[in-house]
Chain length 195, copies 4
């Protein structure tokens, strides 16, 4: 199913690697697969999403980074940096954690000083309520444009980051490669920074 | 406890009036008290908050509406319009529902065209993580400034809406009457509209 | 010249109708044609622009209004509401004046409470400095999305307002009908309201 | 006069240092004193203002930088980074030029990716039109919060930059030390970044 494959796996859904295992003192924000299923059917889940960009010395956006991966069927899809906010975790910390998870520890993101997002996206599992679809859940996602200053080396080996000019990222065929309606969201996020 | 009393009761916490009862076909977004307790300890809850304002014909804010009520101990406290977003409910619909709940059906709010909030507040049950405290839960709240054009008659009889000039609402003693750090939030929301 | 024709005539450039004549006590903000020429070559001019929209009861944008007119060559072009801010005039008053000028006195615009624009556009007479071109001047334009609730009857008879769904307004061929780069600006303004 | 003294001298008003002299090919954006007087009485002037801040690794504002100087009468006043946008100059370039002028060449400001300002301030020479007063002119000022990462050494020797926690900068006595209503503007700008 195209939406599901275009969506990056949440660390919670993956065979856990050591860093994602619940700590010994069992943080209550870590949810078991059953618990996650339960809450996903009962209330909206808080997400953060980020559009990584390169900027010049005066803050102009020169390049946009999109995650690229191959689905099990061999189809290349694009994605934004995205993930759930955990219990007790601030939006900034969640944003930083997911940026590091998706772009590697040397990306050096500059998280904006303002907590007000560039855009808010509402994902629903049922079509027709919003332009954004997520079959797993109702998610309210705060979307930020985040300049990165270092080098990006996605930690999960199926992923790459491809950089392109803002005009290229806004091309209809590129926007169409983002699943769940996120092409529209990328267009809105880039619009917020004047692209 | 000052924070708790300053916070308006969530419809979920009250003896349900008929409008708040789950419908016969049991919307999965309605949570029992036990379920609400469980999720509140496991993941951030999505909230919307609104600062009702009166504007003149050119959009300038002329008055700010603050909810006023008496705590069980007889202390007057002030509050913003606020409430949880339910599963399957859009932010706009939740905002409208809580405005109607707190200001009555004749308030005629003009919900902003942009879904991007004036400010985002993160409430934690544990102090020190953020200026905003909610002892019941970790909540991520999207805060909007909403012009209202009709007459306000709070439905819950303990409540009143008091209107005052923006300068009066920004006075330190008024801001201090909002619990959980919301005085700061009111100041931020009014700043966003040039007050 | 396409850019010039797509741009609505500034009241200052037209054979003055009585309402646009300088008042008897000669407001210093009214500039003669020579003075306007002088300042346009010497410093950036402050503009406001507005994208008129229709919203539903919960603030969702349902329609976008674009000004339509025929050039002297008979080509139909589209335009935003736009105009100069005069000396001593507030941004809100300028916005209201130009909305009334372009949409008529019964449009009843709801000017946003926040003075922060949805987008800022920088127009230069020389190409390459920005995506926005205005051959007459360097202009810094604050762009707002403005819901209108009444009926629109453009005062200048060459003009009409055509209403269309946001998706239609965002179609590449419609965006291309706005001159001076304003198609991009319309896309950015609509992005800010979630379209 | 308190307002005038609190306001940093515009390079145009000062005995020109070599960098501020018009280039040999006489940029039309450079105005003689007489021309500046003329335009200041005829149309609004475009300004940019910046609140310099220090941020931590997750973007939280930890310190606010205020310019400090002694008036001819020996009164210490505070100011924001501010200055005029020249003909043909982009907002970003003007912001960078004035940051460098006021904070020195080693401040390394991170100009935000979005051209939309944190706030817009309208200064009028006549009182009562707005909370912001500038006796010299009607100015429309786009105000940005700008993280700086280097060391600040104001180039003009009467100036210093004093850094303080956001809470200290928001103290009423500090806000009152900014002239022309800019205390309110500083409060609004800091509100936009969650302070």
């Amino acid at each position: 199913m195209t939406v599901e494959t275009a969506d990056l796996p949440d660390p919670e859904d993956l065979p856990a690697d050591p860093e994602d295992l619940p700590p010994a003192d069992s943080n209550p924000g870590w949810l078991s697969a059953d618990e996650l299923d339960f809450v996903r059917g009962r209330l909206p889940i808080v997400y953060v999403e980020a559009v990584p960009v390169r900027v010049d010395g005066h803050g102009r956006v020169t390049e946009v980074g999109l995650l690229l991966r191959s689905t099990p069927e061999g189809v290349m899809t694009r994605a934004l940096v995205a993930g759930r906010v955990r219990y007790g975790e601030s939006l900034r910390d969640a944003l930083f954690r997911h940026l590091e998870n998706d772009l590697g520890p040397m990306a050096f993101p500059l998280i904006p000083a303002s907590p007000v997002p560039a855009q808010v996206a509402e994902y629903f599992p049922m079509p027709g309520l919003s332009p954004y679809i997520d079959e797993r859940q109702h998610a309210v996602s705060l979307v930020y444009v985040v300049p990165v200053t270092g080098s990006c080396n996605p930690r999960q080996d199926a992923l790459e980051v491809s950089w392109m000019a803002p005009e290229a990222a806004l091309a209809p065929d590129v926007l169409a490669e983002l699943g769940g309606g996120r092409g529209r969201l990328l267009r809105q996020a880039l619009s917020s920074v004047g692209c």
